[in-house]
Subunit: 197 residues, 2 copies
């Protein structure tokens, strides 16, 4: 019914995470009402971002400069590398400001089912970085999922010969969490890692 | 933390209907992972659509041709004009295929609170169209809301002198609806408009 340009736009929007055919149509209609004020700026922002970004050759972060501004920042602690699955996880940690060191983005997790092998992830470079004398600690911040923990275990093995301290994020009761609503795995982990007061 | 281009993109995405800051970040991260495969095509689709679309001078529909392909289609019944608030409503009716006539898109509803007056809506052109001899019926398909019904009443008054039949969509129990869960207004309307079997 509608124009092929609009159909194509809806089709692309519907593939975005969190959007389906109905919400994609809603977004398209919203943009169509004010093409010059809404649609063109979004098109320009997307084109500018696609043009500007590139993966950091050191850590795998995505930024408009290479090395990324975290790797290039001399104020960031070069002795600690925090290993994350994804750029999204890096952003989440950066929002907390808790990690003052560098990062290493794996680009996913090992998965035999999906055919993701170690050489598909950014692990080789991590091993090289861990061998640098400046690096004292590798903090594994993969997700607390089976895939994330499998990947963490594999990295621990690979780093065994690098002579670097390897740690992982603590598991336990989330801040603000109620025991009542927590799963058994989390409660078990929290009990096992209990700390003296 | 992230690049200004990415921040700007997230800011624009967060303004889309159904998206907020969190889901906008998620969409941006999804696009960032594969700029050439996902981000550039979406930028191009948006730019192409913004470039191609224009409002139909006859009915107010948005299409890549003017008059739109409904107004330009000689197979559509020129005697019946269905009046809708928005292009979204026109699309919804077109999906059902129940209306074989033309449309007229008002571009909103009258609203004293929001300062929307009759001259802000596409009503003048509707009155002109209703006076054409080919037009026999105007079907008011504004929403069954206070604003939609107020607008419909106003249009009925304006069309009084046009010598055209004016009708509106039936109100009643939605198909598949359970009386138990319906509001009083709908039930009252359904009872008042009951039909002999």
């Amino acid at each position: 019914m509608s124009a092929p340009e609009i159909d194509r736009l809806i089709e692309l929007l519907a593939k975005l995470p969190g959007l389906g055919p109905r919400s994609a149509r809603r977004v398209a209609l919203h943009l169509i009402k004010r093409p010059a004020q809404l649609m063109t700026p979004l098109a320009d922002a997307l084109a500018a971002t696609a043009e500007a970004i590139s993966p950091c050759q050191i850590c795998g972060n995505v930024d408009t400069s290479d090395p990324c501004r975290i790797c290039a920042n001399p104020e960031r602690d070069a002795s600690a590398i925090c290993v994350v699955e994804d750029v999204a996880d890096l952003w989440a940690l950066e929002r907390t400001g808790v990690h003052r060191g560098r990062y290493h983005v794996l680009g996913g997790t090992l998965s035999a089912l999906d055919g993701v092998n170690p050489e598909d992830l950014n692990i080789g470079k991590l091993v090289d970085r861990a061998k640098e004398t400046a690096v004292l600690e590798v903090i594994l911040a993969t997700n607390a999922t089976v895939a994330g923990q499998t990947t963490a275990h594999y990295i621990v093995e690979r780093l065994a010969s690098a002579g670097v301290k390897v740690s992982r994020l603590a598991h336990g009761v989330p801040v603000g969490g109620e025991l009542n609503y927590l799963d058994d795995g989390t409660l078990t982990a929290a009990m096992k890692s209990r700390r003296p007061l």
